[in-house]
């Protein structure tokens, strides 16, 4: 018989041996199973789930952003449309004006006056000269300009006679299609095009304002409604915010550790888990805030974070040796005294508990996009973005695979990476104005690191997810 045969016999007999299970054992396990702490909810969510969540949040934010645009984009489109429509309106008025050559010359002379004043003067004059037809005073300045250019063209002037009646007809029936010959129509079209080109080349702001005002005076509200011209210098920039802000903050943090096994024994992981417990850490830093408009803002800066961990290691089989010296005197029968000294050793076997505070430190650059709403006094914001690690290091003691406590520092670091890459960052901020340019803010946040902090040499994978409450001040600059 060999030892192998003997061993195999035992193994084969006992490996699948089943013993009766005491009754009620499940009843003892079940409550423990049910009351077992579920852990932090994100421990259950894997990286893919978080990526999907981040995409959803991103989509939501983009949705909110694009929700803003319909208000501004159609406004721009409307402005563009109205400018086109307005050109037509001006043409109408131009045609109207060309009919009255006698008043045009004097009006042209007045064109050097400031526009607003000029319009009033012209209007008064026109009303005075042609009281029955207000239409004639509608577009005095463009008409004058138009006629000036019109007169410069000698060939066109020749045809002016045949054109005038048609214009007069148009004066009274602005909405009616004039019954003119094909040649006249062509001429009118050419004239319209010329007039509008010329008109656009002159001071647009002043002229359009004048046109609108005069059209309104003449009951052309339909035209006005569709011909509001937005000043080009202001167009599309009405919401642009040129402010800057600066934030200083500090935060108590709490790290949530997640560990998964790579090549370590379960016993090692259990032991590691039982020796480490998370404690309150902190973060501090600054951020530069750039508002994109009244609601959206971009933030970036630099922050320092420290996650604290308590490491309690129980060192078994600690031997404490005490030497005991006992001295006694013996009086013997002859009457002499003998001094006796006994030396004994007392050995106590027990355990010692080593408690050390481990630190995990890092420098990071956050880059977030935020949406804020509220009033001047109280603002609430939702922020989301990424956080880039610049450098990180671990300091303290931890268990190695032989279950021995070993020191770990920035230099002697065999398990932890010096850069953990990118993480996701989300927060909700509440800002309260405390002075004209200063806000106090509270910002609960959560940081989810996408990568493990351990390297490939480590027998396990470990990550810290951090939650905290940033408290700080925001200073408005460039206001």
């Amino acid at each position: 018989m060999t030892d192998n045969q003997f061993d195999n016999f035992f193994r084969e007999k006992l490996i699948n041996h089943s013993a009766p299970v005491p009754e009620g054992l499940w009843e003892k396990i079940r409550p423990e199973k049910e009351k077992r702490p579920k852990g932090f909810f994100l421990r259950k969510i894997n990286g893919t789930g978080l990526l999907i969540a981040a995409l959803l949040v991103g989509s939501l934010m983009i949705g909110l952003l694009t929700y803003q645009h319909p208000a501004s984009v159609p406004a721009t489109e409307a402005a563009l449309n109205t400018s086109k429509t307005n050109a037509t309106t001006i043409d109408h008025s131009t045609n109207i004006i060309t009919g009255n050559n006698s008043t045009l010359t004097s009006r042209t002379k007045q064109s050097s006056l400031p526009t607003e004043v000029k319009s009033e003067i012209i209007e008064e004059k026109t009303i005075g000269s042609i009281p029955a037809k207000k239409e004639n005073s509608v577009t005095l300045l463009p008409a004058a300009n138009n006629v000036r250019s019109f007169e410069a063209n000698s060939s066109v002037t020749k045809k002016e006679v045949s054109f005038k009646p048609m214009i007069a007809h148009e004066q009274t029936q602005l909405t009616e299609v004039p019954e003119t010959t094909v040649e006249e129509n062509k001429y009118v079209s050419a004239n319209i095009a010329q007039a509008s080109l010329f008109y656009q080349s002159t001071s647009v702001n002043a002229a359009t304002g004048l046109v609108q005002k005069n059209l309104a005076d003449n009951g052309h509200s339909k035209f006005i409604k569709s011909s509001i011209i937005v000043c080009p210098t202001n167009r599309g920039r009405s919401n642009f915010n040129s402010d800057w802000s600066f934030e200083l903050f500090a935060s108590p943090d709490y790290g949530f550790k997640s560990v998964s096994n790579v090549s370590a024994s379960q016993q090692y992981l259990d032991k590691k888990d039982s020796t480490e417990s998370m404690q309150i850490g902190y973060s501090a830093g600054f951020r530069v805030v750039k508002p994109l408009n009244n609601n959206w803002l971009l933030k970036t800066g630099l922050q320092y974070s420290q996650i604290n961990q308590k490491f309690s290691y129980r060192n078994e089989n600690e031997i404490k040796t005490t030497t005991v010296i006992t001295t006694r005197s013996i009086i013997r029968s002859p009457g002499d005294t003998v001094l006796v000294t006994d030396t004994s050793t007392l050995q106590q076997i027990g355990y010692s508990v080593k408690t050390i505070r481990n630190h995990y430190r890092s420098f990071d650059i956050p880059l977030t996009l935020g949406y804020q709403f509220g009033n001047e006094d109280l603002t609430i914001g939702i922020n989301g973005g990424v956080i880039f690690n610049i450098t990180s290091w671990y300091q303290g003691e931890l268990l190695d695979t032989s279950l021995t406590s070993v020191p770990m520092s920035k230099i002697s670091n065999s398990y932890y990476r010096s850069n953990i890459g990118m993480g996701l960052y989300t927060s909700i901020s509440v800002l309260k104005r405390i002075s004209e340019n200063t806000h106090l803010f509270f910002e609960p946040y959560f940081r989810y690191n996408l990568s493990n902090m351990t390297n490939t040499a480590s027998p396990y994978n470990q990550r810290f997810q951090v939650g905290g409450l940033a408290i700080g001040l925001r200073f408005d600059l460039n206001r």
Binding site: F6, F9, R11, L14, A19, V21, P22, I29, K33, D270
Partner: protein, 159 residues
């Protein structure tokens, strides 16, 4: 149900490591709580039963650690390894073998179970029990010798 499916086999494991049924029940309870606690960490990389068994064995060792296992070197210099034919023990049933194992000194029993039944190497056992691999080897040799002695004794009684 997970518990019903594996409870019998795991109870047998617990009984092999524990001193008595009460302790086995404690190990079983702690072990299955851990199984449910770490169930989400099972990566489907090996057999599920093997994974549960490792948890139960580790739990048993932690229980024994609390009591400080004594890896005694029992003086058996006078006794050589007995010659034992396979027929001498082939008739032994599972319960007999369980009794024989449970009669071993604690250190012998743990090492024998880990090496022979669970299949851990001496290096792994050394790491698990914080002992030298040599200690594990010598404990196994002695455990085997003691078991063979016990089987011989049983044979003599039967005769």
């Amino acid at each position: 149900m997970l518990f019903e499916q594996y409870a019998g086999k795991m109870m047998s494991v617990c009984l092999r490591y524990a001193i008595d049924s009460m302790e086995a029940e404690d190990i079983m309870q702690d072990g299955f709580i851990k199984v449910f606690q770490y169930l989400h960490q099972f990566k489907f990389e090996g057999s599920f039963e093997g994974w549960i068994r490792r948890i139960i064995v580790n739990t048993a060792i932690r229980h024994l650690e609390k009591k400080k296992i004594q890896f005694k070197e029992i003086d058996e210099s006078g006794a050589n390894a007995p010659k034992l034919d396979p027929y001498a023990y082939s008739h032994l049933g599972q319960d007999d073998l369980m009794k024989l194992i449970n009669q071993l000194p604690e250190g012998y029993k743990v090492v024998f179970n880990l090496n022979v039944i669970e299949g851990y190497s001496h290096e792994e056992i050394a790491e698990m029990l914080h002992i030298q691999p040599g200690t594990s080897r010598s404990q196994l040799v002695k455990a085997r010798k003691m078991l063979q002695h016990q089987i011989l004794q049983l044979q003599k009684i039967a005769v």
